[in-house]
Amino acid sequence: MTTIELSQRTITYREAINEALDLEMARDDRVILFGEDVSGAPHSEEERHFDAWGGVLGVTKGLAGKHGRERVIDTPITESAFIGAGVGAAATGMRPVVELMFIGFMGVCLDQIINQAAKMRYMFGGKAKIPLVIRTMTGAGFRAAAQHSDSPYSTFCHFPGLKVVAPSNPADAKGLLAAAIRDDDPVIFCENKVLYDTPGPVPEGEYVVPLGEASVPREGDDVTIVAISRMVGVAHQAADSLASSGVNTEIVDLRSLAPLDTDTVLASIRKTGRLVVVDEDNPRCSVATDIAALAATQAMEYLAAPVKLVTAPHTPVPFSPVLEDAYVPTPERVVEAVRATLA
């Protein structure tokens, strides 16, 4: 019989994010939150309309009730203006958490992220800091088609000045979001929408997972699988099935995509000599090719087999469920890739 410890109570990924926001807002009144419908019904003073949505998938629900509409602020559909407002507020003493509903909407506001938030500190000779968090949703599998399902976090990783994180489970979601909010640099916080309902043990109270540190949720010495966000779960499924045929898989969950925990990745590659990278983002100029490049430049002599990538194809995300399921990397594809490195 198992007893659930209080410190290990189980909540969902969605709840973990909500909790981190709640705690950080309570801790620091410079933290404010804004985005489209993050509370809901901003036009109405009626109680029955209050907090009508809490974001399109309910992640920020309840925060306006706890912290007031003065700190949980709905916006018009005007991403350039309000994400830029996040930058301007961050540069002048606030610590805003703004929501870019889906990461695929980056194109309507990218300038404020890559040319303002990311470059200001450098262009100003270090005389500015931008403690801004941009929360956004990634991930295919929601039947939401090409513009609402892709995961181009690689674009953010490309631009110096940004940090990028992508938690794979509720505890990391809570801890990394707290770290992102406390960080003095702009952080893109990528929530995988397919994980929102996933439960997991999450420490209560303040909990911080440092940026830039990968985790190794499964140790093994035959092969290293480096995975991101929802693909960590896919890696576990693959590892389970490989275990039954005696293959010991080590899984590295990157967690932070920028900065990368190169030490953990390289140590694992040096240990296992075999590398498979699993990423649901498109393959060109991606975090997946970065990991392969890391191996090729810094661990080649340890590699016993060619590196294997398992990613989405170089296509937009299709709508049809059968196609979308074929788009996202599967445990079967990962198993095959691992087997190829062992051949």
């Binding site: 489209e36 419908d37 809901g40 019904a41 901003p42 036009h43 109405s44 029955r48 309309h49 009508a52 949505w53 399109v56 709905d74 018009p76 559909i77 005007t78 350039s80 203006a81 695929g104 909407f105 194109g107 309507v108 929601f142 039947r143 939401a144 088609a145 090409a146 513009q147 609402h148 393959p283 060109r284 997946a288 090719t289 392969a292 294997k308 990538l309 398992v310 990613t311 194809p313 170089h314 296509t315 937009p316 299709p318 709508f319 049809s320 469920p321 059968v322 196609l323 074929a326 788009y327 599967t330 079967e332 594809r333 095959e336 890739a337 190829a340």
Partner: protein, 336 residues
């Protein structure tokens, strides 16, 4: 209105088709049959049809995430649309686009669009093209009250003015963007006035009144065809369902919905044309029946239609591209 009987019948048929299509989706979504985000147009039919009844296949429209009504109004085949919404191979986009991306370029329908404000720049381009190709074709650019705040929409209005493009900007003010009233999101709250700041004629019309919409549309389109540039129409309307299916609609009141439903565009149209003896009620009833059968058939066909082949995952990305690079850096998965 100078519409002949045939045009009136056709307009009714299209409005009725939209309503039937959307009501059916509402029902089937609740039944768990339909994947993804589905945004219904029910309630707003008079806008799409009032505009599109003036158009031919050479004219273009751009649309939004709430695109079914625009598609039907522009003559896109409902069977293909329904199959698309179910993600099936015979869908308008072979199942690759879904509800938010239904398109039919040959019919002049440049796609529903998942990006709020995605359409206006495209509309400028189609209008520029119409002009450069020496046609008198026009482009109708549909967007919402929420979209009227998006930079791309505002830029599009300015560019259309500068280039004197044959575009009619149609803001479907259905009161809300998701949960947010335009009274909050639109600074100044007067959307039509905003367009005047871009130097274009601008008018607000009752979007529940087909004849009011069609009249404003007729003038704007004629102006565009004459090469006199863009016009803005704010059509005040309402969506009967939630923002998308599954929305609990906690941000507005039932009474508000009722007050709009009591002015329903279809009932009013029927009332007007029958009371004026323009079309017989029996003829409209016949349309209702035919449309219901058409949509029923579309659902039946969609349900039994085949899924897209897995090979189609990597087709249609480019006109011309090395196949091997569609699975770049990796082995193409073996399908079993």
């Amino acid at each position: 209105m100078d519409m002949d009987r045939n045009s009136l019948v056709e307009a009714y048929r299209r409005m009725r088709t939209i309503r039937e299509f959307e009501d059916r989706l509402h029902k089937d979504f609740a039944g768990g049959e339909i994947p993804g985000f589905v945004h219904l147009y029910a309630g707003e039919e008079a806008v799409a049809v009032g505009l599109c009844s003036h158009l031919g296949d050479g004219d273009f429209i751009t649309s939004t995430h709430r695109g079914h009504g625009h598609c039907i109004a522009k003559g896109v085949d409902t069977a293909g649309m329904m199959a698309e919404i179910y993600g099936k191979a015979p869908g308008s986009c072979n199942g690759k686009g879904g509800s938010m991306h239904i398109a039919d370029v040959d019919k002049g329908m440049l796609g529903a669009n998942g990006i709020v404000g995605g359409g206006p720049p495209l509309a400028c381009g189609a209008a520029l093209s119409a002009k450069k190709r020496g046609t008198d074709n026009v482009v109708i650019c549909f967007f919402g009250d929420g979209a009227s705040n998006q930079g791309t929409t505002l830029e599009g209005m300015n560019l259309a003015g500068v280039w004197k493009l044959p575009v009619v900007f149609v803001c479907e003010n259905n009161g809300y963007a998701e949960t947010t009233s335009y009274k909050y999101s639109v600074s100044g709250t007067d959307i039509a006035a905003r367009a005047r700041g871009f130097g274009m004629p601008s008018v607000a019309v009752d979007g529940l009144d087909f004849f009011a919409v069609a009249e404003a549309a007729g003038e704007a389109i004629a102006r565009a065809r004459r090469g006199e540039g863009p016009t803005f129409i704010e059509a005040q309307t309402y969506r009967y369902y939630g923002h998308f299916e599954g929305d609990s609609i906690a941000y507005r009141d039932r009474e508000e919905e009722e007050s709009f439903r009591s002015r329903d565009c279809l009932s009013r149209f029927r009332q007007t044309v029958t009371s004026q003896g323009l079309v017989e009620a029996a003829d409209l009833d016949a349309i209702d029946g035919a449309v219901a059968a058409e949509i029923e058939q579309a659902v039946t066909d969609a349900l039994s239609a085949p899924d897209p082949s897995l090979d189609s995952l990597t087709t249609d990305v480019y006109v011309d591209f090395p196949a091997s690079q569609l699975w770049m850096f990796q082995d193409e998965p073996v399908r079993v």
